[in-house]
Symmetry: C2
């Protein structure tokens, strides 16, 4: 399983298709992931056509992977199929509420990660697009997602055409807590972030953005409070629109 330890996100893909046979095999295996009450509360929309990729690209802030990858997968939290089944079977579903969204989103994200692992094990490269939950309203319209379906993750997939540097990770003891959560002191934070802050690429990042600290690049440039508040409103509105707010 060393490929997991050595994995990198891949953003450039070869001009080589990913066959339906392989893709379906990987997805079918991915669906063996744990799922609440074996309800399988997810759907996957497969995008291969250039036209649909061009429509999806703006929702992902035009990151080039969307148009550049042979396959784009949108993993959705889905209580629509299950609720339809209930109604056709004289049962009244009660899944139009926040906990049901979180249950379905959990199911969908477990399957997403399982798919990524399987794809990489088969020599494919993937990129996880976090933008899916920033513009869910646009994606819903483009992919025609009905009520009780909400996109939660997008993965671009293809054969790697690059071998980027592996990104850093925080030291293990900065993430684990034994028995209870012990909150971080200033000394802990200094220690946990020391390696990250000393990386040449991160020092360059601070300089390029005209900031004093790496954290300021995150708070003032990349993930700003005002943007988060705006996207939170979109999220709230979209969950209402998709019927998950009762």
């Amino acid at each position: 399983m060393d490929f997991i330890k050595n994995r990198r996100t891949i953003r450039k893909y070869k001009q080589k298709d990913v066959s339906s046979e392989l893709l379906n095999e990987l997805l079918e295996e991915a669906f063996r992931a744990s799922t609440m009450g074996n309800m399988q509360l997810y759907s996957v929309v497969v995008t291969r056509s250039s036209e649909m990729k061009a429509k999806l690209a703006p929702a992902h802030f035009n990151q080039p992977m969307v148009k550049g990858a042979p396959v784009v997968l949108t993993f959705c939290a889905d209580f629509n199929r299950f609720s339809k089944w209930c109604r056709f079977r004289q049962a009244e579903p009660g899944y139009d509420n926040p906990i049901s969204f979180l249950n379905a989103a959990s199911d969908a994200l477990l399957v997403t990660q399982n798919f990524c692992t399987l794809a990489e094990a088969h020599g494919l490269g993937i990129c996880y697009l976090g933008t899916t939950i920033y513009n869910p309203d646009q994606i819903i319209e483009i992919l025609r997602l009905p009520k009780l379906v909400m996109p939660v993750a997008t993965i671009t997939v293809g054969y790697p055409d690059e071998m980027p540097m592996q990104t850093d990770r925080l030291p293990l003891d900065g993430i684990l807590h034994e028995e209870v959560y012990v909150d971080y002191t200033e000394q802990d934070i200094d220690r946990i972030y020391a390696a990250k802050e000393s990386l040449p690429e991160n020092r360059k990042f601070i300089e390029e953005n005209g900031k004093e600290t790496l954290a300021q690049v995150f708070t003032d440039v990349r993930y700003k409070k005002a943007d988060n508040e705006y996207m939170s409103e979109v999220l709230r509105r979209t969950l209402r629109l998709q019927g998950f707010d009762n």
Copy 2:
């Protein structure tokens, strides 16, 4: 990777410890999963002591795996560590809102699934406890989770002491959509759920619960509307309590 295709959830474990060395190795590898902006918005609380397992058990509706497993892991969405780092670096964090919770929960769930795969690859068995998001308030108190930390998944881990039947899954074409989501007709639902409904264990399940259809076992017994509404209120209240509602 056939172990993924052949996996089963394991609820009974041998009386054999999982060493810290192995556990840490698996967690460290799991943390190679994709993470938004490389922020690693998660923490993991490791429970080994009988005392803490006994405290956690009721929050998981006393499912026997909590006390029976050598290790219980609680994966948390965590914007506390990152926000502390920002504050100690003259940066003002803006992550006390719903989109930030969903970003951190996504990060945490990807890591959860990655850990499960790695654990199973090393001969361990796992059980995913969906109960974590039903009683997050209790878990927060027991594990002393500060603001901006929210439990999203619990995994019990140990060496398997059972070999249960593999559970069924829906046919692939019931989950995939090509280019756009095509909503399900009654005929689609009949076809997709036919195999599941014909399973002897599911027919027995209907009978034991005195119901007419399998769907009614879900809506009237296992995942009831009233329970979902109650748990949605707990979820809303807990997200406010943990500071994710601005």
